[in-house]
């Protein structure tokens, strides 16, 4: 199969400007150094997409795989594991308009703002359309050279692409965000419906999102596939690695750790975690917040500084609640450090106000950790209360405090939830994900 995949977020972020260095000859990722030249972007999309494409290439399903994304300042063409990564540029002014538009879309789809029809007529929305059209034109030029069998478009930023690619080739769309029809502004529905209906198939992360898709008037094939991770990458960290992490962040030997792994964003509910943690008031316990900004929300990516503002707010909130010396703002951790954090913690907490899925719960399960999960996250669909996790409402800090206290005081319950979670995690394994994705893709291509 010849595949062209598109996601706004690129696989890697370059730590310095490299646009001019290479032209049409792909730069090999293996020739660069992680941490010095580049770092992998955070977030579920890239965590899923990269292993998916690699696995499909290795398994012989993909003859050709191109991955197109937005990556200002990056080399235009990169190669890694048989994949060709194309990086698109966007002029500075357009980038800022596009960023503002996608932020509005994101906030609205998460119920953080009630947008009106005005948005669809603003210059920012025109910049959003501009980027999609630019991407569509690029895809059409790639199509001429590659004759793809399938276009696989990821995430809400790229939704208009299906309509813009007027080709008789199957187009598959993956929606990663929460999909709650009550949050969709009434006036946006005709346009959203038109955009969705330009895809032959749409994949959503949870069963409940299928209903929204149908009510929106989508007539194509709709599928729900749980997001997945390459679980084999989550090895057991060494004792030294765990100790190094503890030393770095001042975690004492007897101290217990509640871990939150999420990018710095109000929607991720770190403030709720701090509030619930303060209310629980368990002595000898620390709350560790891991994560920095996303590709869009950090200065390193698209230049928006939402993450920095949110971090300032969280620090202030911890001070107000008198827990500033027990909250660790760890920022970005390298994969091995993150694994050490999972290994070291007692509880994995997902406090999101709304979350498309919540892969960190799966990561916690890999380490047999009990997970305390927001009812508003898609992954809550997999939680059987008391069997593989506990659920709570992120708007009720008392409930979070109560369940956190329970998990930290009842070791047997914590261990059984960890075991139950470990079993459930197989539903989100890369092998299963690849199998299911391949089934959808093959069906569309007619293989």
């Amino acid at each position: 199969m010849r595949l062209c995949l598109v996601s706004q977020t690129p696989l890697v972020l370059f730590l310095r400007e490299r646009r001019q260095e290479h032209g049409t000859v792909p730069l090999k990722l293996s020739s660069l150094s992680e941490g010095e030249d580049y770092e992998f972007t955070a977030g579920g999309v890239t965590k899923m997409v990269y292993p998916l494409l690699r696995k499909m290439r290795e398994g012989g399903l993909l003859e050709v795989a191109h991955w197109v994304s937005l990556n200002p300042g990056a080399p235009p063409l990169l190669s890694s594991s048989g994949l060709l990564l194309h990086h698109l540029e966007l002029e500075k002014q357009r980038l800022s308009g596009y960023g503002a538009a996608k932020e509005t879309l994101w906030r609205t789809l998460h119920g953080l703002s009630r947008e009106t029809v005005d948005f669809l007529w603003q210059d920012e929305f025109i910049d959003y359309t501009y980027f999609n059209r630019k991407c569509a034109e690029f895809l059409l030029s790639l199509e001429k050279e590659n004759d793809f069998d399938l276009f696989y478009i990821h995430d809400f930023q790229m939704l208009p692409l299906g309509h813009m690619l007027n080709l008789l080739k199957p187009k598959l769309f993956r929606w990663h965000l929460p999909f709650d029809e009550t949050l969709l502004p009434e006036e946006w529905r005709p346009l959203l419906s038109l955009y969705f209906n330009s895809y032959e198939a749409v994949v959503v992360s949870c069963r409940k999102y299928l209903k929204t898709l149908r009510r929106l008037g989508y007539r194509g094939k709709s599928v729900h596939l749980y997001p997945y991770l390459d679980l084999s990458l989550y090895g057991k960290p060494t004792r030294e690695e765990v100790e190094a992490l503890c030393n770095r962040f001042g975690i004492g030997e007897d101290e217990r750790v509640v871990l939150v792994v999420a990018r710095l964003d109000p929607m991720k509910g770190q403030d709720r975690a701090i509030e619930g943690f303060a209310k629980a008031g368990i002595p000898g316990t620390k709350l560790m917040l891991v994560g920095d900004g996303s590709f869009s929300s950090s200065k390193k990516g698209m230049g928006l500084s939402k993450a920095e503002r949110w971090l300032g707010y969280l620090r202030g909130r911890a001070r107000e609640l008198g827990v500033e010396d027990r909250v660790i703002f760890a920022g970005y951790l390298k994969p091995r450090e993150l694994q050490a954090a999972y290994e070291r913690c007692e509880v994995v907490l997902l406090p999101s106000l709304l979350e498309g899925f919540g892969l960190v719960v799966i990561e916690g399960w890999v380490y047999r950790k009990p997970c305390l999960v927001s009812r508003r996250a898609g992954v809550a669909e997999l939680i059987k209360e008391g069997e593989n996790g506990l659920l709570f409402d992120p708007l009720l800090p008392e409930e979070l405090a109560e369940k956190l206290s329970l998990l930290l005081s009842d070791e047997r319950l914590a261990a059984s939830l960890g075991e139950g979670g470990k079993e459930t995690s197989s539903l989100c394994s890369l092998e299963r994900g690849v199998e299911e994705e391949a089934k959808v893709m093959r069906e569309l291509v007619g293989e």
Partner: protein, 247 residues
């Protein structure tokens, strides 16, 4: 004939061709300017037609300058044209009707229409016929010329709101830039439009030199349609011109 004579004739020939090219370009610009309120596709076609006509006249004149007889050539071209017209009269009638129906008859693929006692969903509009799929899943092929004679009723809900403006632009222009400018221009008419449907530009086809697009808008008040179309056509011409100039 001596060599200087041949060279002189050849230089006249080349000069005539250059003048022809210049005339063709001037005429094309003139048409673009004079008919800027017309549907852009119609305007582009007129420009192409004028260009072909100028080139034919120019070529015949240039051949005449070489000292070759053009009477027979003219007669042959005329007779061939007549023969083609006679032989393909009905087909041409349909093709012509299709051409104008694209521009002025308000239906498109996907609409449900009634014409000449037949009704169904339009599933294909080819150069000669329009194919309808009836409720009974029968295919009815209707010659395009029928649409110029018969009353056509479009039964599609809310279709009265729809404005479809065919646009043809040079493929050398940046489509994202063009689209942005067109969307901004449409924003000026927002108060007359159904705001739930922002303007939408759809690529209908690509040729080597041109990209065929359809701009879709939804109006609040259908009586304003003509005015909006005229204004937008004018705006689109300006945008195209400005982008060409910028290039």
């Amino acid at each position: 004939m001596n060599l200087p004579d041949v060279l002189l004739k050849l230089s006249f020939f080349v000069f005539t061709l250059l003048i022809t090219a210049l005339l063709s370009r001037v005429l094309s610009l003139l048409i673009g300017d004079l008919f800027r309120e017309w549907a852009p596709s119609l305007r582009t076609s007129l420009q192409r037609l004028a260009s072909v006509a100028v080139w034919m006249v120019g070529l015949i004149f240039a051949i005449g300058l070489l000292g070759l007889k053009t009477d027979l050539l003219l007669l042959l071209v005329g007779l061939m044209g007549l023969a083609v017209l006679l032989a393909l009269r009905e087909v041409l009638e349909n093709v012509g009707a299709k051409y104008f129906s694209d521009l002025y008859i308000p239906f498109k693929v996907g609409d449900i229409i009634r014409v000449g006692g037949q009704s169904g969903k339009v599933i294909e509009i080819n150069p000669v016929t329009t194919v309808l799929l009836t409720k009974e899943e029968r295919l009815i092929s209707i010659p395009n010329s029928v649409f110029m004679r018969e009353k056509v009723v479009n039964l599609t809900p809310h279709v009265w709101k729809e404005i479809l403006i065919p646009v043809t632009i040079s493929s050398s222009l940046s489509l994202p830039e063009f689209e942005s400018e067109v969307l901004k221009a449409c924003g000026r008419f927002r108060r007359y439009l159904d705001e739930r449907f922002p303007p939408l530009l759809t690529v209908k086809g690509r040729e080597e030199k041109y990209v065929n697009l359809i701009l879709t808008l939804m109006v609040k008040d259908p009586s304003k349609k003509e005015e909006i179309v005229r204004e937008l056509n004018r705006k689109i011409s300006e945008i195209e011109k400005n982008l060409k100039r910028k290039k």
